[in-house]
């Protein structure tokens, strides 16, 4: 996404889906995972007679509300979308004007799509020729159409390619940058967008700044900390710009874990694990996670409920459970799936001895001796000349307002400048003054969109409800695609063509992102010496925000106006290519569409692709396709929900659901206990649950259970009084090995298993 057009976030909003004429969903089940937001899809059906199309291996609750449903084989979304493009190009349904003016590299897509005739697609995806043609026709003829996805698209070895393919389909149909269109990626948890924006990842500083030296220097300056001090915290300088381990594969870095995959971690191993509110029992390869937990020197788990990592491990000493407060016992800014901010007020003081997360981190910083530096940024401000200073007279900070203001002050990349605590609170307090459909404010909130969806360029900016919409002035959230990949590639222009002018822009057509060096030329202005002195090198690191201000005056987005790119020349697949899952039920296709070469030092650990895929024909021993997902009453690793008797009563036991036809061939009755075996040699004992929603060669498991491990009940490890009402095997004990080539997200949505009666 970010590599296609600039930002890797939902482009429109749940509300805007009500403007769609067609809605196509790949690998998402909003009726279960976003039940409240799903009403916007239902309303689109009522308001617009919107055609709801669901592409999913399972006939989900969302599919039950669909006008068209295709039961796709897991991991074959790219062939399906190329098949759609094949039909679109053949019939001339593509938006030629849009493609010519705003897209780079669509010719390569056209060439690849030509290979994916409906017949080839039917063989690979399992969806009939007729159904593919029907769905493509409906989606192409009902515009604007929005494309929705979630983890069903991302959790594959080719997840990154999947998330490029979907935007390409939208670009071909000209569905981008308009109300009712867009790629509406649904975030799966409260404030995930905010967590991502703040860089809770091992490959970036907050705000997607990356780990380059220039980014570190910008943050050092903005935090009032010496760059050299930060540098000294690393083994040597080179490690500052290297990716860390990921949540998916940190276990490989622990000494003693049986693993033939080389790590590159400065010659040492991971010794301690601190978890703040993450259900690590919902991550693939639980057997490896357990092994790693057992071998760590120190485990600290901060959670309102017992993090089940503590139950999974055999480690007896140096395992600490810190009682963290819930979201009701703290306040602050949270970010919704559509990039909008909302203030959350504290409902009650933290109960008993629990502490909010920030208190835990402050205490840790105090013990480690860097507390003053840690909180310093909250007491700083920019001076008029672009320098930074301590706010005169300020000796202490107010949480979380000052943290919010620090974020607004520093994070320019995604335009958080306008997100001051005061403004966000005002929006939340005046929620009723905003239109449900357009998010536009009325009365005192006129001229602003609810929650100031980023980019919100200045302290008076409206917020941007739909990304890349050139029909609105920049001051009201308009913009072209971001110029982030250079001005040209091999002599081909990467900027938007002349016809793509953002309404009200001083510049006709495309332009480069704005830097101190090009601002005078691009905007046709002359800076005073004083302005030059205060201005940062480019719009992203300009503490004075003068570049953005000048851009607003000229009616342009500081990040430029460029083409989206269908070709990502720095990725292993320059255009999205189909590659079979590592454990494919179709070994013939695995030969034809092989996995990537193994990748050394992928987030510090050797990660296997082709060597796993080509090792053997797994489909003989493990004939059943396995996908995992959520239940409506449970969430994440599930420990907090399973502590509610009413939620637990709806699904009191861990289960595996499969078609009665498969049950009959296995000799397993509804309600029997079964063993589910994985190609990694792990197994879990769960209850069989018949369901017609799963195809006869497939099985589905929820991932919300824990407490049992490979047949063993470990719930005696819960401290007295903390055991949830329901416990069971974690599906992730048997989800298969496999990780995305770019992000390393695990391939939980397309593995294999064998089911045997227990």
């Amino acid at each position: 996404m970010a590599n296609t057009w600039g930002y890797g976030a939902m482009t429109n909003s749940m509300n805007d889906i009500q403007n769609s004429k067609a809605i196509i969903i790949f690998g998402a089940n909003p009726a279960v995972n976003h039940p409240v937001g799903f009403q916007h899809l239902l309303k689109a059906k009522e308001r617009n007679n919107a055609q709801l199309i669901v592409i999913d291996p399972r006939f989900t609750k969302t599919a039950a509300k669909a006008d068209y449903y295709a039961q796709i084989r897991p991991g074959t979304d790219i062939p399906f979308m190329y098949g759609m493009l094949n039909i679109i190009f053949k019939n001339g349904w593509e938006d030629k004007e849009f493609i010519d003016a705003r897209v780079y590299g669509m010719e390569d897509i056209r060439a690849e799509a030509a290979k994916w005739t409906p017949e080839v697609v039917a063989d690979v995806t399992g969806v009939s020729v007729e159904k593919l043609i029907q769905i493509t026709t409906v989606y192409a003829k009902n515009r604007p159409g929005t494309l929705i996805w979630a983890m069903g698209l991302t959790q594959h070895t080719i997840g990154t390619s999947n998330t490029r393919m979907a935007p390409i389909l939208q670009l071909a149909l000209g569905n981008m940058g308009k109300a009712g269109g867009g790629t509406n990626i649904l975030r799966g948890h409260d404030n995930v967008q905010g967590a991502t924006d703040m860089g809770c990842l091992s490959d970036s500083l907050p705000g997607y700044y990356g780990l380059a030296e220039g980014s570190w220097k910008y943050f050092a300056k903005s935090w009032g900390v010496d760059f050299e001090y930060l540098e000294k915290q690393f083994k040597d300088k080179s490690w500052m710009s290297k990716n860390g381990f990921t949540l998916a594969r940190w276990w490989a870095g622990v000494e003693g874990v049986k693993n033939d995959e080389a790590i590159d971690n400065a010659g040492t191993h991971l010794k301690a694990l601190v978890v703040l509110g993450n259900g690590i029992t919902s991550i693939a390869q639980q057997a490896k996670v357990k092994e790693a937990l057992d071998h760590l020197d120190l485990i600290v788990l901060a959670d309102p409920f017992v993090n089940e990592a503590a139950v999974l491990t055999d480690k007896k000493d140096n395992v600490f459970l810190l009682p963290a407060a819930t979201q009701f016992e703290t306040s602050g800014l949270v970010v919704a799936t559509n990039r909008s901010a909302q203030w959350r007020y504290k409902v009650v003081e933290p109960l008993y001895e629990s502490k909010p997360d920030q208190e835990i981190m402050f205490e840790l910083a105090k013990r480690l001796g860097f507390y003053d530096l840690y909180v310093k940024g909250m007491m700083m401000e920019e001076t008029k000349d672009g320098k930074l200073q301590m706010i005169p007279g300020k000796t202490t900070f107010i949480w979380p307002e000052d943290a919010c203001n620090e974020i607004a002050r520093i994070v320019k990349t995604i335009g958080l400048t306008g997100w001051t605590a005061e403004r966000v609170k005002k929006h939340t307090d005046n929620w009723h003054m905003f239109d449900e459909l357009t998010l536009e404010g009325t009365g005192p909130m006129k001229g602003e969109y609810y929650g100031l969806p980023w980019p919100c360029w200045t302290k008076t900016h409206s917020g941007s409800p739909n990304l890349y919409d050139t029909s609105k002035p920049v001051s009201m959230g308009g913009m072209g695609f971001r110029n982030n990949f250079g001005l040209e590639k091999d002599g081909v222009n990467l900027l938007a063509e002349k016809s793509v002018t953002v309404i009200g822009s001083k510049i006709q057509g495309g332009h480069a992102e704005i830097t101190k060096d090009n601002i005078e030329k691009v905007l046709g202005i002359t800076l005073s010496e004083e302005e030059k002195a205060m201005m940062g090198a480019n719009w992203k690191v300009d503490n004075s925000n003068l570049i953005v201000q000048k851009c607003m005056e000229a009616g342009i987005a500081p990040y430029g106006n460029a083409k989206a790119r269908a070709i990502v020349w720095n990725f292993p697949d320059k255009i999205p290519m189909h590659r079979e899952p590592l454990h494919s039920p179709r070994p013939d296709l695995a030969t034809k569409y092989p996995a990537y070469a193994d990748k050394a030092n992928h987030f510090r650990v050797m990660t296997k692709y082709i060597s796993v895929q080509s090792a053997k024909d797994y489909s003989k021993e493990f004939p059943v396709n396995l996908v995992t997902g959520r239940l409506v009453n449970l969430n994440g690793a599930g420990v907090e929900n399973r502590a509610s008797k009413y939620l637990t009563a709806l699904t009191p036991e861990m289960f595996i659901s499969f078609n009665p036809d498969l049950g009959a061939s296995l000799g397993v009755k509804n309600g029997d206990m079964v063993w589910v075996h994985s190609p990694e040699g792990t197994k879990i004992k769960v209850k069989a649950k018949y369901s017609h929603s799963v195809a006869p060669n497939m099985a589905f498991m929820p991932f919300h259970f824990a407490g049992h491990f490979q047949g063993e009940d470990r719930t005696a490890n819960f401290p007295a009084g903390t055991k949830p009402y329901a416990n069971g095997e974690s599906a992730n004990t048997v989800t298969n090995y496999g990780y995305d080539i770019i992000t390393q997200i695990p391939e939980t949505k397309g593995g294999l298993c064998r089911i045997e009666k227990a």
Binding site: V36, F59, Y646
Partner: protein, 199 residues
């Protein structure tokens, strides 16, 4: 002017079986696990073109059959149509369960030899015959949200606004608007209404 007649309506085009209504009901009234004043039912699960879900509780019928068969006459119908009963009179005989077309009456399942005890059912969040909002009323019948001017908790919680409750005319208006907006189907009678509200 007619006194407002309260009705339930669940739009099966909108109900997604999230169980928000049933869990909210159980939490609000602190029901024992196993007592389902409200249930979400899915028909033809997993069958393309045939699956639908709906939320069912006591429909607070006109000429309620439960009231007609009760041997101890523990039922009473409020002016607004809400059907309530007196747990202190109820002998737990179960006749009402046989008469009810919706399976609404619930009986405690524990106790020796499956002894039934007083029946429990949806009160449309309107409590019972005891003093309004008293501790005693709350213990026996749960919250009395109607007396507080609040929407029954199930409809308030409904994630897609499939489940509606209110006076007959308002409900009928919303129903008609949705059906005509969808541009297909006819404005017929909502599911369950033929049994609950024809008389």
């Amino acid at each position: 002017m007619d006194y407002a007649r309260m009705k339930f309506y669940c739009d099966e085009h909108r109900c997604i079986e999230c169980d928000g209504c049933s869990v909210a009901c159980a939490e609000a009234h602190e029901l024992p696990v196993g007592i389902s004043r409200r249930k979400v039912v899915t028909i033809n699960e997993g069958i393309e073109g045939k699956e639908f879900s709906t939320s069912i509780a006591c429909m607070h019928c006109t000429d309620a059959p439960c009231e007609q068969v009760c041997p101890v006459d523990c039922f009473y119908i409020r002016e607004d149509g809400i059907v309530l009963h007196d747990k202190d009179k109820c002998i737990g005989c179960g006749y009402c369960l046989y008469a009810c077309p919706f399976g609404a009456p619930q009986f405690p399942r524990d106790g020796a030899f499956g002894a039934k005890g007083a029946m429990d059912k949806c009160t449309m969040c309107a409590g019972g015959p005891l003093e309004t909002n008293s501790k005693h009323e709350r213990e026996l019948y749960g919250q009395n949200r109607i007396a507080e001017g609040k929407v029954p908790v199930c409809a308030a919680m409904c994630s897609t606004k499939a489940l509606l409750v209110g006076d007959a005319e308002s409900i009928a208006n919303i129903y008609r608007t949705r059906v005509s907006a969808r541009g297909h189907g006819t404005v017929g009678v909502p599911y369950g209404w033929d049994k609950a509200y024809t008389k």
